[in-house]
Amino acid sequence: MELYELNLYDVIEGLKAKKFSPSELFESCKKRIDSCEDKIHALITRTDDFAKSQLDENPAGLFAGVPTILKDNMCTNGIKTTAASKILGEWKPPYDATAWKFLRDAGAVLMGKANMDEFAMGNTCGSSAYGATHNPNDLSRVPGGSSGGSAAVVSAAYVPFSLGSDTGGSIRQPASYCGVYGLKPTYGMVSRYGLISYGSSLDQIGPFARTVRDLQLVMSVIANYDPMDSSCFRNKNHDFSHNENPSIKGKKIALVKEFQDFTLDAPISDAMNKIKKILEDEGAVITEVSLPIVARYAVACYYALAMSEAHTNLERYDGVRYGYTVNDASSLKEMFERVRSYGFGSEVKSRIIAGTCLTEPKRCEEYYVAATKVRTLIAQDFAKAFNDVDFILQPATPSMQPKIGEVDDDAMKGYEADLYTLPVNLAGLPGLSFFTGYSENKLPVGLQLIGPRWSDSELLHAGVVIERHTGDPKIPDLN
């Protein structure tokens, strides 16, 4: 077995026991990346030299010497950060995102910045200005998005864990497509400081790994209070320690009544049945909840809010201070127009235009303001459901991994596919995307478990229970 194949927990234990050195681990991961990256194209920037310089300083802490990769919308001091957009050019942030700072302080070593949909807008990684990423399990298929690169690097075992961000499913859907575990934590659990904003009230950073226990380890480091993010939790203690023998006996786990008529791809509905059986065998009660407002309005509400916030978040890219600019504009207006016309890709542009229209004074009340009200109702819908049940079980996505290029023609179809993930962001809930096994075509199949706010650690305990039955994903042979 190669060192790069080790899970996070085993890496930490191995390093602690000095079975191998951080440098040996680094070389193994580097070699793996060298041999696979041409095929997968999961990274926008490789940071081998930076990683070496970190190792030279003998990092200490829980993750001392553990290689990791960040989605390229997290700021890294002195290292190019692009959000997969041309508009940021060669910009090197002068500061570290807090989540990365926590990891770095714990000794983690940065191997690269992962590809993503431009400004996290998309669900295939296809809107990246740096080209598409391929699913390690089937190179002809998409890895999902927007954190497709972060999911692919864990699936392909470049590194034992990575960070992504989730605004409407951008961790859970690619985790499901790539056959890894991904957690979208409760809104406010992980600091967003240094995460390049898409929809500020929906964005949340979370981890990818190949076991649930590894997610627990990452959460124990990054789920800390940060005064730099006003939406970050205060005065709450979160214990992400691993429980060897968790139980879900007597827990009520619900399916969403309104979603039962929707069509799922066969491997996904098979997985639903399989997991229901496992949960019942473990003593859980499978039941049903109704989320009428979620089912009817969540997609419209989500896009109204996300695009309204996004277009204001992207107003800062004007070519004045950083990133791509033009030097020969004859007026200020021309400069703004040329910078933004060239710098943004078409998906980003369409969302900026939509956001601008949705908040336009004459329509603002009807769309943006209405959406903020509906959002409250959606949160209430969930709160009511969680009075009766502990978790909700549902797919992370209704369909299997599409082929690259297959999905891009019908934007609305892509938006509908997010119905299983985006209500979770609207209500600020935690959602775990977990691996269930492989389809007949040897494609990984994932599902999603959702809990009430701040139930992240219980969600992970339940994940451990399921994992005992499903086993961990296999690392694809890419050589």
Partner: protein
């Protein structure tokens, strides 16, 4: 046909920079005089990924400002993003409370043209961030046509209070009184020093005209006034302009006009107003102000200047004009009250401050804080003069000596050779005889009865006073001199 009359209807928007150590959403210093772009960080530069966090001190100064304007403080307020593109605005939107502000209505009292008090209603005060400052290479200092433009973001993110009045102002004079009174109250509250020369107070005015024939002119927004004088002139100009248009039956365009201080005119804004829209700032939670917090800030509020001036007039019988002068400067008023506490007669003390203290402050370009004479010292000087131990003339000499030499009252009295209690009796008669002896011609004129207006006698009296170094009582001198002349 009766002659048409016009009533100006004016609303004023004021931006005041609040006095805080750090900026509204980050911990950068608010010192805008530092070298360009030295007080900046990822947050006030709006770098990708940075997030605002609200500075508590800004909220406290905001509450104080609200209280100074007689506003209610709202338990919950929100921040919004106000979108427009400009190089001095690094996020492409300004974070402002506009639609859901920290205060409710308030008012400021001014005098109308008949001298009666009237209320100018304050619609609200809200908190927001300032933008950076632009420096253009063009000769007219404006962006259009400049070869090069520089942006200094030191000012970006410094805290502002925007105060929006109702259209209750009826003249340029009322406008000036409104902003003067308002500024003074804000300074008293401690929320800001409002130094005008540093651009810490800026004005926009909405001017429209109501005609006696029932016509209403459209509202015109006039921008770019940075001094009381500019505000006054801009409003006067705009009133005149609109009146003329209405008299000619022409249309007044609803527009934004730019005040050109050098030319003394308003002209249509060259920069087209950016299309603005607002969404809730998703990176900041609602601002919650508890009653306990409001009470704590209320306890910090000092007596307001107009209340103070009324008290001086009513309780201490100080002339209104002197009371207004003293309360104009909070520190001066504190100095005055310390004098009174130290035992000085309020009317006398106010007079000394009005004449002597303000004189040396003006002559030496001093602020009262830098004035070296302690209020207790001035109080004892005032008392000694009051008691007749020192004459007024001597008192002024003592005052100047103490100021120039930074010494104590006793030292000054000793150095100037003043014997307390004065020159009287035989000592006075000796001096009078000496003076008469030295001026026989003058004495002759008086004796001959030609000094009908008493001018020559006054002249001798002055010589005697001079000889006594002002230590004799003028009345005694006059009496003794009269007797001596007769004798």
């Amino acid at each position: 046909m009766a002659e048409l009359t016009f009533t100006p209807v004016i609303g004023i928007e004021i931006h005041i920079r609040l006095k805080t150590k750090s900026k509204i959403f980050c911990s950068c210093s608010t010192n805008t005089d530092a070298p360009a772009n030295t007080n900046i960080c990822p947050v006030c530069l709006g770098l990708p990924g940075s997030l605002p966090r609200l500075n508590n001190e800004v909220v406290e100064q905001g509450i104080l400002t609200g209280l100074a304007l007689n506003c209610g403080i709202r338990p919950k307020s929100l921040f919004f993003r106000k979108s427009y593109f400009y190089p001095d605005l690094p996020k492409g939107h300004q974070v402002t409370q506009c639609d859901f502000p920290i205060t409710s209505e308030g008012f400021i009292e001014v005098h109308d043209d008949n001298g009666n008090l009237k209320k100018i209603r304050v619609n609200h005060m809200h908190l927001e961030e300032d933008v950076g400052s632009l420096h253009h290479s063009a000769s007219d200092g404006r962006l259009e046509g400049a070869d090069t433009s520089y942006v200094d973001y030191n000012r970006c993110g410094t805290p502002l209070a925007e105060i929006v009045s109702e259209p209750d102002v009826a003249s340029a004079r009322e406008a000036v009184e409104y902003v003067t009174t308002l500024r003074r109250r804000v300074i008293y509250s401690g929320a800001s020093d409002v130094e005008l020369e540093k651009g810490m107070m800026r004005f926009d005015a909405n001017v429209s005209m109501k005609c006696s024939d029932g016509r209403w002119g459209r509202k015109v927004e006039v921008k770019n006034m940075n001094s009381f004088k500019a505000l006054e002139r801009a409003i006067e100009y705009e009133i005149k302009r609109q009146k003329k248009l209405m008299l000619n039956g022409e249309e007044i365009l609803q527009e934004t006009r730019h005040w050109n201080d050098a030319k003394g005119v308003t002209s249509p804004s060259r920069v087209k107003e950016f299309y603005r829209k607002f969404i809730v700032e998703p990176d900041l939670p609602p601002l919650i102000v508890t009653q306990e917090w409001i009470d704590r800030m209320k306890a910090k509020m000092p007596e307001m200047p107009d209340v103070k001036a009324n008290r001086y007039v009513n309780d201490w019988k100080i002339p209104r004009e002197v009371a207004d002068v003293i309360t104009d400067d909070k520190n001066l008023a504190e100095y005055f009250e310390a004098c009174v506490s130290a035992g000085a007669n309020p009317v006398r003390a106010s007079h000394w401050i009005r004449t002597e203290v303000l004189r040396v402050m003006n002559e030496n370009q001093l602020k009262i804080k830098d004035f070296n004479m302690k209020p207790e010292v001035l109080a004892s000087l005032v008392s000694r003069v009051d008691d007749g131990k020192i004459s007024t003339t001597q008192g002024k000499e003592v005052f100047d000596y103490m100021f120039a030499n930074n010494c104590s009252l006793d030292e000054a009295v000793a150095k100037l050779g003043i014997t307390e209690g004065g020159v009287a009796g035989n000592a006075l008669n000796d001096i009078i005889q000496a003076v008469l002896k030295a001026n026989p011609d003058v004495l002759e004129i008086i004796k001959s009865g030609e000094d009908k207006k008493g001018k020559k006698l006054k002249f001798l009296q002055g010589l005697v006073m001079k000889e006594t170094k002002g230590q004799a009582k003028p009345q005694e001198v006059a009496q003794a001199l009269e007797e001596a002349v007769k004798g």
